[in-house]
Symmetry: D3
Subunit: 255 residues, 6 copies
């Protein structure tokens, strides 16, 4: 396997924002961003800003009734002017686009991947990720932020004895980061300007213990090799560790 | 006409948040809240927080073409957890509810009421008001915040010479406030807890020169008299003056 | 306060249909217009014609169950050729427009404003206002006609002992009229040609005892002053009294 | 072929409204029912009442452009309280039901069947049939009434020289009537109470010269024989002749 | 009545595919086409190919509950490339078109016309007819194929004792065929090229015993006479007999 | 890296259908399955059967105009009885579900990944993948089959000189296969029964030259390690080679 160090030494790449190829953008996670939700987080990854709320509700959807197990679901959306050109609202168009569906499902799967549904009991957590400003990596920021909001909500539920223990519901932490190959160079944490030029683009969600929850790599513009894949996964591992440190920092400050 | 002072002396009312009946909640207007839109404002009226963006686009909708005049339109929406109970997304339900339609139209009319469409030329301004947290008065906060975002966007357009003069496009400022009768007492700027108990509820949009752009008073629970109406309008006049001072403060700091 | 007489003497205005500025168009209310509904009215205000039906149903929507109270709701719609240019059907477009939503909600609030929900018991009244021909004032004609249809339906329900007493359910009558300022002159009951030129346009719903249920004044084209507001309210008071006389005439003929 | 006389002599049937089996309900056609449309008709067949308007527009849909030919289309709808139980609006449900689609298409085909599209030129006629009260036969009444509204609209267009000659556009008149087999007896012009009991139900649209434009016979409850079909067609022929006499009466009074 | 032989002798017509005017296209019915459904059939009539599945479910829709009777319903759809030009999917457009609605309803009525709902008991059969390739007569092929799929499903249900006897549920067989008048000549079983030129077009569903379940004749381009109708019905009778022979062949091979 | 041989020797797993863990289900690709589309393929992978058509159209969507480049897009859908329980049609529900959106987008990306858009010129290929029977791996079968249909369509276009050379448009072949971890054992090509038990599930699209176009691995039930990932990718490489041999076989037979 090609070591990431070696690979990076070969490419002395200047990124638009001056970062090294294996360097994350600044991460800020603000907890209790709004007052009302059981969990509410504003996450900023560079210029990307996502508001993530977690709604804890007793009871589960009908198909899950009497299973003794809970459910976690997610919805993702962009405000119209999160983007440089205004995007029409999906509510106005009367239907949800494919991209929104795809990302909402991804977030839901990632969060469910670290939840013990039995320990959650017949309760539901709904995660809402609304992008206030988009500069690449909105889906990965959503996953990273939604995790913190979900823990907030579970602590809220533990305090009110709706669940026994938030710690038992959470099997592990989860975060996600984007990586990609730009002009032949693998890079970590792509802003929009890089993302739109990427030959290969990959979103990697990992647990705190370093295992994978979700890998989505796509190569519309140039296929990628097994070696490139390995470098990208190394970069993603590095990035997710830093994201998880930021998650821990904000969660420990409160607990 | 009953003087507002007299009316208030009769009622020594204790409001849940300790305010006097003719006292506004704290107002904070943050301009340039996000980086990308031509105008972007976060307005907080008490616990109500609305993100207002203004999108300036050259050109107008088809029906307005070759008129030599511009157009201003608005869309209002609530994030799912702006409210104590999560509200389903209208995009997911596949249609916009009546309340959203009603409020979007109200905001649009109020802003158009202070715009000189000829001076704007064949350009369009789209106002997006997204409620991050709702505690009463979201539609009036939207109007007040959207005005600031619109001025930001017009200044942006003036700098780029898309319009000759932002000042000529803006005929006057506009703000809005809610008033209502609660247990027989007229009050200014109702938070949710008061709004839900109001017998009469009125939203009043006024210009900087003290004239009316929109009055919407409704009395589902008890009709109101001409005298009550007059007191409510006095209260609204007071509130709007304070909102307009806050608008000027943020706009003058930048100009 | 400026007396309406004085104001009118200043302006010797010729209206397109020869009316004085404080004169209503001819009003005709036909009760029992169709055979099947519990209440069915055709109201004509000038050339505006609206068919208003009231449907009485035992039981209330789910959210109202076990409250001991009833519910009143309304839907407004225009037939495609109510207007000079054919309007596409909202059923064909697959969604209800903002204007329709706004007006349906207005009618519902006005009618609920005169109903004692406890006396109605757990029963529902649905008002359907379908505009056969539109020449201004369709929403106010709908309110005025829907009131008569609602009383018809309540009498029907009283006869069948679904309610104890129609009179106890009805707290007061309600009617509505439009007023506006055209070329600086306040006027009563605007047909389409005047409505489309109005600087200020106001719809005023009042009870039989002269109190306000709803005031909606809008000034897209020129703000209005407190004095103008007062004249408009005087005109609306005069107009509503005449509408209520017409309501009484048709209802007394039957009772 | 079994003669209709013979068949009827065998059955001395008493219909709920006292009619003979081959007797139509009273027909009333009111032309110029509303003022604005190019053609506007209220047709009453017994208690069934349908408002039919015809909209004449210069130009044709895109797919028909530069063909030198016109187009005729129709939309059918029921007001919510046309029926004994209130029917939810299709605009509120957000989609058009199968029955509405089926009937709208039927009306369109029948009217196109008597129009010379070349003589119409690149102009469009839109027929709107809105059922104010439904007591069986709403689709056939719609066809019969729409024909009169269409002629009105063509005469209007001829006067304004949008078309050369209304008479050349109209190849023949068209009307429609329902027939059915109830308890083994073929009958003409079924009201709702009979229609709901019919084993076989057939709608027959015919030209003034006695040819068929559309036959729709359905036998959900009991198949029908060739002999029964022949009797039903005889009844339909008789009924259509009477409807066409009523059409001529109203059209000749005006021409 | 004009004999079909005589009529045909007058016209020595060459059809594009060399058939005689009263000759059917080749019919192939493949049963058990897919493994999972209770009934699954691929029917080919010439180049038209339709996959018909029958789903047997215990229980009936809510409005049918406690009636002791079953229900049969059908849905028709075309795959996008069933046609020469790709047709947009109705799921993507977000609504079902009028043609699809009309045909789905037709298929449902025809199949219900031969089912004894009491013998079916409170069970439901859903027929899905998906057109893989369209060359005229897709709706009639759907009816003919759906009948075979329905019998398969009923036999499946009888084996599992969900119903007593498939034979008692089926009152008679049903098939359907199209006929039409092309350049004045009545013809049997129209492929697309003929269908698009037809002056008159008729779909006729008949039972095994030769009675009619549904007749839908339409004459957008030239009305048809009683004599033409009679010839068309003779042709349809001949065609349906051949279709029913094919149905019996496939069903007897399995029973 | 753990060799696949070693890994398999550790697990002597019996799969429900008797296959070895690295063994594919039987593959059958039928080309020219229907007559009308430019490309039409029926692909069967075990019991999974998907009809893939390719529509070649001159011209591109508006946003792609004057780019000199083509476009490739895909839509995926399941027939109602592809599944053991009938699935409601998305056209009837009026909206496309998230899963359908997600898969349609995946197929489109994979096919675009092997197309030279410049060589395609301003032409569009629309791929329609309709699942006739679903037994796991419908999305990967769709990709594999759609590739063959696309080549068919490009050859068709080359013959008619709409494009210069099909070979130049196709940069490489593409196929896809599912792999997953079941009870700790990595396996190739999962049927439904295995897919529903998988802890980790991965779809891998690869080019003929062995590079990756898309990797989608998800671990809702148990995260996966880097070692497991490597074994899964080895299995996928083996499977894709076999699929590509089947693709070549059918394409060479025709060329």
């Amino acid at each position: 396997m090609v070591a990431i160090k070696d690979l990076l030494s070969e490419h002395t790449v200047v990124r638009p924002d001056g970062r090294a190829v294996d360097e994350m953008r600044p991460i800020r996670i603000t907890d209790s961003f709004t007052d009302v939700p059981e969990g509410s987080v504003l996450i900023a990854c560079g210029n990307t800003r996502v508001m993530c709320t977690a709604t804890f509700t007793q009871g589960v959807p009908r198909w899950r009734k009497d299973s003794g197990q809970g459910w976690v679901t997610a919805e993702y959306s962009m405000l119209p002017r999160a983007t440089a050109e205004r995007t029409d609202r999906e509510s106005v168009r009367g239907k949800i686009g494919g991209r929104t569906h795809e990302i909402s499902r991804l977030i839901g799967r990632c969060l469910r991947g670290v939840v013990n549904m039995k320990a959650l009991g017949e309760n539901q957590i709904q995660l809402d990720c609304d992008v206030l400003q988009a500069d690449g990596g909105t889906r990965t920021a959503s996953i990273t932020g939604a995790y913190v909001a979900m823990v907030e909500a579970l602590r809220w539920a533990e305090e009110r004895r709706f669940i026994r223990s938030a710690d038992k519901v959470i099997k592990d932490s989860v975060s996600a980061v984007s990586v990609g190959v730009i002009n032949g160079t693998p890079m970590l944490d792509l802003p929009y300007i890089e993302d739109s030029q990427a030959m290969t683009d990959m979103n990697v969600a990992m647990t705190g213990s370093g295992e994978f929850i979700e890998i989505q790599g796509t190569a519309e513009h140039r296929p990628f090799t097994r070696d490139e894949l390995n470098v990208l996964l190394d970069l993603a591992t590095k990035g997710n560790k830093e994201l998880q440190a930021a998650q821990r920092a904000v969660l420990n400050a409160r607990s």
